[in-house]
Subunit: 332 residues, 2 copies
């Protein structure tokens, strides 16, 4: 395997939403990225989500030498063996299941392995991080959490509000994830997470994927690698290195219109600001521009004092362990 010693931890990204192309898949291979959890929907309903899966099926056909659809960690192993990148499907909202709990299993059957209960706003399942009032997990939310637990679909609270997140951690019979966010104590924005959430998450065996999206980084696009790795060191002291991964939130090559879709969906005609300024994608930090740059993060972690083994865990070993349990069918 290019750039990876045999037996080394796999490199896994817990969140990307790029404007997919052969070039990006080639960059995944150049960066020795073994698996990526890709977002397939924000506000899409069921039928629209199915069409995004159809789009992916065409990508798997056209670029089967570089990428392969994955449903289990065994598929990550097989992808590494064949020098390809395993692609998992993830949803950043529950809009795809509409009001129908039966669609959780349907989407699981179609390969969805991670689902956020909310995206910014109140959903049928819980409260998003930009709502004024956080009423916690709803009646349907409890049903869907149990169904996700049964199937082996990971609950993701990246865009959820504090109380809803703490309740999801508590209600879920299995560890949950926050696939792409950073500590709020390091950079205080609504999307980053409080020490209470981070500690509760890890105490129940959960995972935080660290975001490399500039709005989640101290100093934004100018965040220095050393500033980032210093944060990771503090986080490892707080929750333990075994609960930390990467969820880069890389949105490579997307037009800015996609930011508007993410923020506004169809729920507003455009007047509801969340105080994040103009709807544009900010430039990535110089040390993480695309999939070829995971080596920079690894080197930065080691320079900050992490061992090679610890850096390997953060770059993907922890996700691999977490997915091994999390994707397995649950106890009924």
């Amino acid at each position: 395997m290019t750039g990876l010693k045999a037996g080394a931890s796999p490199v896994i990204d817990g969140c990307q939403y790029c404007n997919w192309s052969r070039r990006i898949f080639e960059e995944m291979r150049a960066g020795s990225v073994d698996a990526v959890s890709v977002t397939i929907g924000y506000h899409e309903d069921f039928r629209e989500t199915v069409e995004r899966i159809v789009d992916w099926n065409r990508l798997f056909e056209a670029h089967g030498d570089l990428i392969v659809k994955a449903r289990s960690v065994a598929d990550i192993d097989a992808a590494r063996q064949s020098n390809r990148t395993a692609i998992f499907f993830a949803l950043q909202n529950c809009s795809a299941i509409e009001d129908d709990i039966g669609l959780v299993e349907i989407l699981h059957d179609l390969g969805v392995r991670v689902m956020q209960l909310t995206y910014n706003n109140q959903s049928l399942l819980g409260t998003g991080c930009y709502e004024a009032v956080d009423s916690g997990i709803t009646r349907m939310g409890r049903e869907v959490i149990a169904e996700m637990n049964r199937l082996g679909m990971i609950i993701d609270m990246s865009h959820s509000a504090e109380r809803s997140t703490l309740e999801a951690i508590d209600i879920s019979a299995r560890p949950i994830a926050i696939t792409h966010a950073n500590p709020a104590a390091w950079h205080k924005v609504a999307r980053n997470k409080s020490p209470e959430v981070l500690k509760a998450l890890a105490a129940r065996g959960g995972m935080l994927g660290l975001s490399l999206y500039p709005l989640h980084l101290k100093d934004g696009s100018n965040c220095a690698l050393e500033t980032f790795t210093e944060m990771v060191a503090g986080l490892a002291d707080l929750i333990g290195v075994d609960h930390i991964g990467i969820g880069s939130d890389l949105c490579q090559d997307q037009p800015d219109s996609v930011v508007e879709w993410m923020r506004n969906g169809r729920w507003t005609k455009g007047g509801a600001s969340i105080g994040l300024g103009k709807a544009v994608f900010p430039p990535q930090p110089a040390w993480f521009r695309d999939n070829r740059d995971f080596g920079n993060v690894r080197a930065g972690l080691i320079a900050r004092g992490f061992t090679a083994e610890e850096a390997g865990k953060i770059l993907g070993g922890n996700w691999y362990r977490f997915f091994t349990d999390g994707f397995a069918p649950g106890r009924a």
Copy 2:
């Protein structure tokens, strides 16, 4: 296994559409039925078809001691090992894929393993057996046949017209099936098949599943077992015993309103007769009332002079062989 010697051929029914209940699944077990291909749609669109799969998922949860969802012949083996009946999904129409070829792979992912290109009427893919003019396989039909070949989804022409059926046999790179019909030379109705179709089907490695639905039987509900097995003997002479299975078309416990849905869907307000009389389910022949009666068919075949091995092939061994090849992913 109840009633089956170790190593005996599995019992497989190539077509049923019952009003599913625990009692029927218990009868499958009592009859040592190892696998059933169940119809999940006639006129349903994609979203409605998904809801039928949701219904089945609830049945698999509630009756997991009796039935198990199947996607491959390995699942038939596993079902036999655990004394359960393997359930395959089949569509009697192409309405579920709407006008979207991408939905073929989506439905395959959801477990659909057999699809008819037409149901009685002209479809987007070909011509049904009750149309006045049979224009053959359409442009989209050719695309969908290639896609089904690629995925390992079996093409079923049970309700199709003559020319369309002959063209499907010819165009498909893989053997196709007529899952539930009988020879027209034995009982001349639009749904039964000409010698030309039967010979072409078998010459390309295809399968005919013999229907036990009274409208497809000589003498209808009063068809004697000996009359049926005499037909099978003649058919075996014509196309070879290896190309014959059972597709009972059992519609147990269905209300007569289902006959109206099958015949009329939403395409007519009810005025378009196909000369089949009142929309009611006729009584089953006394020797095949439900899933417990496959033994009667086996005994009847042996009484007519088939060897035990030949009877085993017709009762399921041939479907098992055909599905082994037919469900395997195709050559791209």
